[in-house]
């Protein structure tokens, strides 16, 4: 294990929290909205990193699990009243009145987690590529399922949610509220993820990732732990989906396309698999790169306007080429010489030995 002084870790964390709290002081409204999306993607990527980074399972359906969370949230926020106003003919078993968005977020996470658990029961008997294909099937079928059950989902035409407002009469602007809502959720879930991966459960997950046979011989049940990882990861995606739909105020099947699932996985890899802090880089990339690729200030060639997604893809490939282990590993690697020097000057070879 790498050796990290607890004090420093706390200091970095404190700096990160301070930064997150301070961003609204500087950022204009649009930029603030972008950082809200970063928080939302951060939550989704945390979940995906638990599954892929810590448990070694590839999911090509995480965008769809976000979609499930988003639909759950949208339906709970609207209730039967809201849905009939939106022009659908909602079934009687739905609650009559909508709920406050803030209470819907954890519920959406629970519902998506449960669905993820049920999906994981049979699917996780599959391994590697087969599992990736099974999750891909979820990503492919979610839009069709949403179109089919149009009385609940609004079908292809989708449903609009009321524009978000600050709840409880709090005296902050709505964009600020949405930002704090997303990042408070992200903070809580970061702690949850950290507690999970550092403890017994995380050890079991990593053991399965690194060698399933060895894990079994140590008394770890792969099926149980893999299903748990899938459920936790889906719950995170569901929470992210709920935050997303609150921010966008509209949902239809096209909002969660297959491309989103693939981008999520790519961003998780870019951030660094198996590193919780690396997730932030994936989230920043996922939000800023597509917008940047629309209108690159540096690469101002007319081609970029023809195909923003091509620009996006090229930048993604460059990042992965430069940092095969993700941004997190790049920083780790790039910092090594300085780290060694510091260690030498600081507390002598004994510490260095410990670190390596």
């Amino acid at each position: 294990m790498r050796w990290v002084p607890v004090g420093l870790k706390a200091a970095v964390l404190a700096a990160a929290v301070a930064l997150i709290v301070l961003i609204p002081q500087w950022a204009g409204e649009f930029r603030l909205g972008q950082f809200t999306y970063v928080g939302i993607y951060f939550v989704a990527l945390l979940g995906l990193n638990i599954l892929t980074g810590y448990n070694g399972q590839i999911s090509l359906g995480h965008g769809a699990f976000m979609g499930i969370g988003a639909y759950a949230a949208a339906i709970l926020i609207l209730g039967r009243d809201g849905l009939s106003l939106a022009g659908t003919d909602p079934p009687g078993w739905l609650p009559e009145h909508g709920m406050r968005p803030i209470f819907v977020i954890p519920l959406a996470g629970l519902i998506t987690g449960l669905i993820g658990y049920l999906f994981g029961l049979p699917a996780l008997r599959l391994a590697g590529v087969s599992l990736a294909l099974a999750t891909f099937a979820v990503a492919v079928s979610l839009p069709l399922i949403a179109k089919h059950y149009e009385t609940v989902t609004g079908g292809g035409g989708g449903v609009s949610l009321p524009l978000p407002t600050t709840p409880f009469g709090w005296d902050i602007s709505t964009p600020h509220w949405l930002y704090y809502e997303a990042w408070t959720t992200a903070g809580i879930l970061f702690v949850v993820a950290w507690l999970l991966v550092r403890g017994r459960v995380g050890r079991a997950w990593r053991a399965i990732r690194d060698g399933e046979v060895a894990a079994v011989s140590s008394g770890v049940s792969p099926a149980a732990y893999k299903t748990l990882a899938f459920a936790v990861s889906s719950a995170f995606a569901g929470v992210a989906g709920a935050l997303f739909v609150i921010q966008v105020s509209y949902i239809n099947p096209d909002t969660f396309p297959i491309g989103l699932s693939i981008l999520l996985l790519a961003s998780a890899v870019v951030g660094g698999l198996g590193s919780l802090s690396g997730v932030i880089f994936g989230a920043l990339l996922l939000e800023f790169l597509p917008i940047y690729a629309q209108n690159p200030p540096v690469l101002d060639f007319s081609f970029s306007k023809q195909a923003p997604s091509v620009v996006f893809g090229v930048v993604l490939i460059l990042i992965v080429l430069a940092a095969p282990g993700g941004v997190a590993s790049l920083l780790r690697r790039g910092g090594r010489p300085v780290r060694l020097a510091l260690a030498r000057r600081g507390s002598g070879p004994s510490r260095l030995a410990k670190e390596e």
Binding site: A15, A27, G33, L144, H148, G157, L163, P290, I291, G335
Partner: protein, 416 residues
């Protein structure tokens, strides 16, 4: 110690964020966003990539026309709109409403556009409409034929459509069948969503008392693997008139399926969204020219490939301007560039009508007082609105297919 580099990374991102937001803050707001002495900034989002990228020429056609307006001297002797250069910002929403929402946030909050013009897609526009209306940002000439842009103006006064709506178009077909084939047996094949249902409502209004001519109504989902069972039932119904209220790809599939089932209705109606060159070419390829020749649709714009317009002054000017101001290698035979020109023409008229010192409110007033001829539309069509009529183009003409062209016939039909 390695965590020190995390700290560095965090500090670096602080610096990046600070510089980004600093640039955002130095922007001084003028009285009317997007309007300065020399510029008027407008924007919209379109699917430049992805499933709906066939529409990508539309904003580029608009861009070419705006460049032309910026370069030429108008009647007042000034370039652009009253001396203001049009700045046209358009982004790729990939036909994803969530992306459209974020990009409209960018257009309004960061690019500070004066108005949103021409954003494409019914769902994308539905998704951005509440935000734009809340901020009182004009959301005009949207590129979709849903009827509610013109109908829901009380709830969303900052939104207005442009092209004839699906109900109006459906009425045209119904009216034509009732008058010309009063004994027809009609089979309607429609997409099972608002789009198909809007059209069907229009067809029934047009048929009026002859509504019972419809002997078969079948729907499909975009996810359907095959239309064989629906179309076999339509064939069995003995229908001789087949009304397709479908989107482009399903249109080709439906025609190929009918051909495979050996069902040849004597009259085929193809809604205008699907009656485009590449759909028709694919249909001819799959089912043969004999099958699709004689198909009926509607149009409100001159067809750039129609030999009738080969020497038309407006179409000729369009070809010259697109070659000069359009993207390199733009195919002038692609009707979507022409659509972009037609829309840009009305945009410029509206910006001019909004007055010497345009405000968002004066632009919206102008959208309620449109009354002119758009030279890109068919002869006789008037772009006309009022306080209670929010459908800028509502006249349509029937067209008939003879591979590879559509030819106009009959009189103009008033859809609204």
């Amino acid at each position: 110690m390695l965590k020190r580099f995390w700290m560095l990374a965090v500090l670096a991102s602080i610096a990046a964020v600070a510089s980004l937001s600093a640039s955002a803050m130095t922007h001084v707001e003028s009285a009317t966003p997007g309007v300065t002495k020399g510029q008027i900034v407008i924007g919209g989002t379109f699917p430049l990539s992805g499933v709906a990228s066939l529409y990508a020429p539309i904003p580029r056609g608009m861009e070419a026309y705006f460049k032309y307006i910026n370069a030429r001297k108008g009647k007042d002797g000034k370039r652009g709109v009253g001396g203001r250069q049009i700045v046209w910002k358009y982004y790729d929403d990939t036909y994803n409403p969530a992306t459209a929402v974020q990009l409209h946030n960018k257009l309004v909050l960061e690019d500070k556009v004066f108005a949103v013009v021409g954003t494409l897609g019914t769902e994308d526009n539905q998704a951005v409409r509440p935000f734009l209306n809340q901020r009182k940002v004009p959301h005009i000439l949207v590129s979709t034929g849903a009827s509610f842009w013109g109908l829901q103006y009380k709830q969303f006064p900052w939104t207005i459509g442009w092209q004839p709506d699906y109900i109006a178009e459906g009425r045209t077909y119904g009216d034509w069948i009732a008058r010309n084939a009063p004994n027809a047996k009609i089979a309607v094949f429609l997409q099972n969503d608002d789009y198909g249902k809007d059209y069907l409502r229009g067809v029934k209004i047009g048929l009026g008392a002859k509504k019972n001519l419809i002997v078969s109504e079948q729907t499909y989902e975009l996810s359907d693997a095959s239309y064989a069972s629906q179309l076999a039932r339509q064939k069995a119904s003995g229908a001789d008139t087949w009304v397709l209220l479908t989107t482009p790809t399903p249109t080709v599939r439906a025609i190929a399926t009918a051909k495979a089932l050996n069902w040849k209705p004597s009259t085929i109606v193809i809604n205008s969204v699907s009656a485009i060159d590449n759909v028709m070419a694919a249909a001819v390829q799959r089912a043969g020219a004999d099958f699709v020749n004689g198909a009926i649709s509607t149009s409100y714009l001159k067809s750039v490939t129609d030999p009738k317009y080969a020497n038309d002054a407006v179409v000729k000017q369009y070809r010259t301007l697109l070659a000069r101001y359009g993207p390199q290698g733009a195919d002038a035979n692609n009707q979507f560039y022409y659509y972009g020109f037609a829309k840009a023409y009305d945009t410029v008229r509206l910006l001019t009508a909004a007055g010497k010192n345009p405000t968002r409110a004066s632009l919206m007033r102008a959208t309620q007082n449109m009354n002119w001829v758009n030279p890109y539309t068919l002869k006789g069509i008037k772009v006309k609105t009022s306080k209670s009529d929010r459908f800028p183009i509502s006249q349509i003409r029937l067209i008939r297919f003879t591979n590879p062209n559509w030819t106009e016939f009959g009189n103009l039909f008033k859809g609204r």
